[in-house]
């Protein structure tokens, strides 16, 4: 099928512009994070950031790691990285355990209440996270559990449940009912059938859902910024707290380095799991 020339040109031009818009900001920030502030933020000439004119003048080298050193060591960003790691791991573990059980039940029950739960989950999905947070804050203060990592984990798990349930529900629908039913005819209980027959085949769906749980926990700002105490902050709210102080102290490059450091794991994740992310997002829409 021959495409008209003009259309091909337009398509390519459009695509190239979009790809630049999508990717260039990240490249630019990565490049700039190895420069001094007067290069990355240069009013006179943007090419300064490209060649690092001031960076060479001030330090003698076009690439410097000062910002990273400042962020990770001076500002102890590694503590925040550990907090993020802990929160993300536990949110993934708990929300997938809850979600697989619930999603399986919703997929296998044809009853009206299963549908009611799915609709309720959809409405819960629409709740802005910060409105829920404003409900937690006062009780959490009163009970003395505000500011700790476990509290935040369980809150993120709950906020994540509606999405996890929907996704795993539509995934379990794609596993034929006959599989576990025949196991039950052969004398397995419901739980045994789930454990022996369903668990071995559910991993593709679980891994995809795990990716999205990871993204939700890793990218969250509203919940972690309000529910965690200063010592327990994860990376994203910590970056926000850099902004308040850094602008005045001329430490904005610390924030730039922190931003780049936080972005790297996400890039690796997309590179490795691109196919799964695409198939996961489409599964919900096209099939269900």
């Amino acid at each position: 099928m021959q495409q008209p020339k003009l259309l091909v040109v337009f398509t390519w031009a459009f695509l190239v512009i979009w790809l630049i818009a999508a990717a260039f900001p990240f490249l630019w920030t990565l490049w700039g994070s190895f420069k001094v502030e007067s290069d990355f933020f240069s009013k006179s000439d943007w090419k300064n950031a490209l060649y690092g004119v001031n960076t060479i003048a001030q330090t003698g080298s076009p690439f410097i790691l000062d910002a990273y050193r400042g962020t990770w060591i001076e500002e102890s960003f590694w503590l925040n990285a550990i907090n993020t790691f802990l929160i993300v791991i536990f949110v993934m573990l708990v929300s997938l355990t809850f979600g697989t059980l619930g999603g399986y039940a919703l997929a296998r029950s044809g009853k009206k209440y299963a549908f009611v739960i799915l609709m309720a989950a959809l409405i819960f999905r629409a709740m802005p996270h910060i409105t829920l947070v404003s409900g937690y804050l006062l009780p959490f203060f009163e009970w003395g559990i505000w500011g700790t990592l476990p509290t935040t984990v369980i809150v993120l798990v709950a906020i994540n449940q509606p999405f996890t349930l929907w996704m795993l529900h539509s995934f379990f629908l794609s596993i034929p009912k006959e599989l576990d039913e025949s196991a039950m005819v052969d004398g397995c209980s419901r739980f045994k059938a789930f454990r022996l027959v369903i668990m071995p085949v559910m991993w593709p769906g679980v891994v995809t859902t795990a990716l999205f749980s990871f993204l939700l926990a890793y990218n969250d700002f509203a919940v972690t910024a309000v529910l965690l105490s200063q010592d327990n902050l994860t990376m994203v709210p910590r970056i926000a707290s850099f902004l308040g102080t850094s602008q005045t102290e001329g430490k904005v490059m610390y924030a730039v380095a922190a931003v780049v450091s936080t972005t790297v794991p996400l890039f690796l994740l997309v590179m490795v799991f691109q196919r799964r992310i695409v198939s996961g997002l489409t599964a919900g829409a096209v099939k269900g």
Partner: protein, 343 residues
Amino acid sequence: MKDKHFIMFMAPSLIAMLLFIALPIVSVFIQSLHIEHEQVIVTSQSCGPFGCTEETSVDAEATAALKEADPLGRFAGFQTYTGRNHLATSEVANIVAESSSVGEFFSDLLNLRFYKALSFTVAYTAVVTPFVVLLGLLIALAVNSVTPVMKGPTIFLTLLPMIITPLIGSLVLFWMIDARGILGASLANLVGDPNLSLKASPVLTWIMLMVYGIWHSAPFAFIIFYAGIQTVPQDTVEAAMVDGATRWERVRYIVIPHLAPLVVFISLIQLMDNFRVFEPIVGFQSGANATSLSYIIYQDLRGNEMQLFGSAAATSMLTIVGIAILVSPVAVKTWRDFTRKVI
């Protein structure tokens, strides 16, 4: 599946959602009916050689004790809702009575905290959602026509704005459009106005935030459309070609109708997500020119002197009402479809 088993499988998830989503909504409602205790004022007389003067001062200890005894604050009914920082009923009535033109009415209304946030939230949702659908469709059509080898890398780059932490995505763009950043400085050079600042003008701030929103969410629409395009029935397309349909006609009459259900899905998700716009306002530090409902709740919760739980809760309840209005048409329709299927 037996009811007993259903409950056992469902319990952990259900309990988590009830405790941390349903109950907080109740808690928010109760909080919204209360306001902070008034500070306890003590009046003391101090008498000097020139007569006695009365002095008033805040009794910090008594105020703290009051807060300790009843942390919710005192009951206020719907006072917070109608008060100046929320629906501001009396102020709005004043504005209606006094403003002579529609433009004046709106500019006065936008000075009120709640309406300022509401107007940006609604405008953001209304503008970003259709543009996301449109841009996502265009990208999907374009990516679909590139050679198979190029598809992997193009999809990878396209996914980046969506996968990135919203706060970080907005910071990265914010630094570029800063007056000293590459885009901000180049634009100032281009226009020839060295003092041009995208941050200072409300209109430019709004546009900037909306551009960010479209940039951030277009990949989501792209993925859904891209998958939809893969399932376009090829024999229908071929039949149309045999009948002499042009390329545009094939897109218009086969591809777009095939993708129409996806438009509903994307719009629904986008309406929900855009209505809670929050991180970009923190990232772009645009609080002076544009705020959103989520942002003013955050402001109340992070208050410098004291946290205004009552005020945050009232805004939260109003936000939930807004969400309900947005989502109800779709929920009602899905419910009807379901009951029809069952009967």
